[in-house]
């Protein structure tokens, strides 16, 4: 316990700030990826249900689904880019 306390005491304020910044950036990226994950899951689930119910419109549904996935993924990419810019620039 005393060893841990000694190690913590040796961490300088600047290092602590860097650690917190890295943790915050990673946390932000994680949060930014959760939303699109849920969105894509819901989107694909509904699209599969629609294709199973109406196979004749499966082509149109799949086209719309693909574009929906790509647009939803843009949110995750924006989160990733913000993470990269915050962390490394």
């Amino acid at each position: 316990m005393s060893t841990l306390a000694t190690a913590l005491a040796q961490i300088e304020a600047a290092d602590l700030k860097n650690i917190e910044a890295a943790g915050s950036a990673g946390f932000a990226y994680g949060l930014a990826a959760i939303g699109p994950g849920i969105g894509i899951g819901y989107l694909v689930g509904q699209a599969v249900q629609a294709m199973a119910r109406q196979p004749e419109s499966a082509g149109q549904v799949q086209t719309t689904m693909f574009l929906g996935i790509a647009f939803t993924e843009a949110l995750a990419l924006i989160g990733f880019v913000v993470f990269i810019l915050l962390k490394f620039v």
Partner: protein
């Protein structure tokens, strides 16, 4: 393209032939190849040669991402609708991991400008999607009209084929 309908378990229905997602994906890659020289030139003018190289890297990442997304959907749709759902979800995870790994691994390379790379990733991804969306929405709303040569390959109609298999 046809849909092999399984009435006993609709989730086991599957596509036969090339899926529409692959057509859209290839269309987007073609459009990306068209704008690539202009994007690299603009990147070079704004951020210098490093910026131009970073724009090229970002554009390449996005095009590979789009193609991979379409390919995963194309392959899994031929297996079953259930596999399509799984492929879409794990595809998202895999593609995001690939982009993260590439960008993080090149972040310290001398010719990489992270600002240029980041802006390119966002702008080209959204720009190409909106460009493609213009054609897709037109073809979905007015199936009889094909306003432009780009629509020639955008016939998204399907013909269901009954095959009840256990």
């Amino acid at each position: 393209m046809t849909v092999d309908v399984n009435r006993e378990n609709p989730l086991l229905s599957r596509f036969e032939g090339r899926s529409p997602a692959m057509q859209v994906g290839i269309d987007i890659v073609k459009r990306g190849a068209i704008i690539a020289p202009v994007a690299i030139l603009v990147g070079t003018l704004i951020w210098g040669t490093d910026g131009g190289a970073s724009v090229a890297l970002g554009l390449g990442l996005i095009l590979v991402n789009m193609w991979l997304s379409a390919w995963i959907i194309d392959v899994t749709a031929r297996i079953s609708f259930a596999a399509l759902a799984g492929g879409a979800m794990f595809g998202f995870l895999i593609r995001l991991s690939i982009i993260s790994a590439v960008v993080i691994s090149v972040r310290n390379v001398s010719w990489v400008d992270l600002v240029a790379l980041g802006i390119t990733i966002i702008v080209t991804h959204l720009g190409l999607l909106f460009w493609e969306l213009r054609y897709i929405s037109a073809s979905l709303a007015y199936p009889g009209l094909k306003p432009g040569a780009g629509l020639a390959s955008n016939d998204h109609s399907t013909s269901p084929k009954e095959s009840v298999s256990s």
